[in-house]
Symmetry: C2
Subunit: 322 residues, 2 copies
Amino acid sequence: MAVYTEVSDDALRQFLADFAIGELVAFRGIAEGVENSNYSLRTTSGDFILTLYEKRVDPAELPWFLGLMEHLAKRGISCPLPVHGRDGAALRLLCGRHAAITTFLPGVWPRRVQQMHCGPLGTALAALHRAGADYAPVRLNALGPSGWAPLLARSLADAAAVDALQPGLAAELQSALDGILAAWPADLPRGHIHADLFPDNVFFLDGKLSGLIDFYFAATDLLAYDLAVCLNAWCFEPDLAFNVTKARALLRAYGATRPLTEAERAALPVLCQGAAIRFALTRLFDWINTPPGALVTRKDPLEYVRRLRFHLSAPDAHAYGL
Amino acid sequence: MAVYTEVSDDALRQFLADFAIGELVAFRGIAEGVENSNYSLRTTSGDFILTLYEKRVDPAELPWFLGLMEHLAKRGISCPLPVHGRDGAALRLLCGRHAAITTFLPGVWPRRVQQMHCGPLGTALAALHRAGADYAPVRLNALGPSGWAPLLARSLADAAAVDALQPGLAAELQSALDGILAAWPADLPRGHIHADLFPDNVFFLDGKLSGLIDFYFAATDLLAYDLAVCLNAWCFEPDLAFNVTKARALLRAYGATRPLTEAERAALPVLCQGAAIRFALTRLFDWINTPPGALVTRKDPLEYVRRLRFHLSAPDAHAYGL
């Protein structure tokens, strides 16, 4: 469910009057997305997405996100382009929320990832990293390695609830995290990363990648960590078996546009461990803290614990097809 | 939330191959609607809605609903037109569900009902009733008067839960229902009614009514009962005060296209009582029987109990502006 804020007719009309994008034709809530309210908006001049930013997004960070999308779109990355109002501002207020209109991207996100998706994904991710290189503002990654220990500590405040998911889970996560942080490679190439490039954020059309969306976890961090997120999100089968053929396609295509350094290759296992524990930890926290009546689907943290175990057993980059 | 069934890429491609509506361009879940899974579907030939019918709809009744929509659309009613596959069939299977593609209707449903909406609503409802007159198949109204006593009885099986909502509610509903059923006018003009024409099922564009959607509660019943549903759904303010100006606009516009009989006018109070108790009863049942963790927003039954009290106090059609 992704409509938390209902937009009244008057408010919408008034809001659109501040843009030069024609007259309203249709307006429907979009089911996808869990952080913000998203509407599909059609006007006489085309299709757009209206996003109202809900409370999990810090308004102070919105200019950074919108600026990054605009920067990337203008460099040929197929991502939502913020539409500016007549006064020049893209970030506005609507129904007591920060809100923005962006362009609509055609395409369909893959419900079942196939090998043919992974090459185009790698190419697009590398192109995103290259196009972002001259976007100067920095956003620290709140959900990067420095955030993981505090996140785990908050869940371990109720260690019994953690172990209720699986006996010994609290100790397993603590031990894995200690190892990951001790081995974390601080000195790899940095830049702006998407940090949440799951299949539902990537559109395909006629077998080609047609768009990347949802940049609201983007941050400035290790570029190869973004690849590690994708290896976790795209290269495990539904039974959580790792598909090395998909991984190889992803990494080779990425490397053809932005070659990995030797240090990045060597760090792949620990980067993947970090990406797996990052999603395990946020899911764990949500699992423990989502009240039973909440209108949110809790995602199973154990799926990422199982991915983590795979990466802990990976001796080197060969495990990922390199 | 209105996507219960995820459609895989392969399944969608195969499904669309059975239609002559061009190539897939975009495919997004729609947030609106609570009974079925709805997707906004764009192809190279235009925009459509793909609906997967979930378990609350009896598949045996789908041909009646789709037939009614097709009948109405062909007589100029702006409602979804089922799209036939290459083999002639509109009702098909997809991901283990019955599914259909219908045309997309432009417009926006009014989040805040204004008087200007009520006249066009009345005109459209009367036009719908007239256009449906020569659709021969009949569907009994499972949520019509014969269904209300069993529905109340199922909730009263846990009378304490009913009274927990409001002390004395169980007795109040039983007494009101007895009175309504005793006074129910069996002999008014019948036809096919929408039966659920709430604001979120009616689109407007540039101040004009542009479409009626969601015919999955439609049935063959008293035509004026459909008006009573609309009086309940459109003519109460957020504080539940009855707005007689809106009611008058609705009834006059309806009457200009299909004049009400004297008996229909006289029956308005009891028809409105019936419509109010129908929504009070289904909401009450859902309220009591929705498990705490369910991904469904429970709607407050008491809002319709308060409407019911207004209608019980209405002496005659003058209370509705006639």
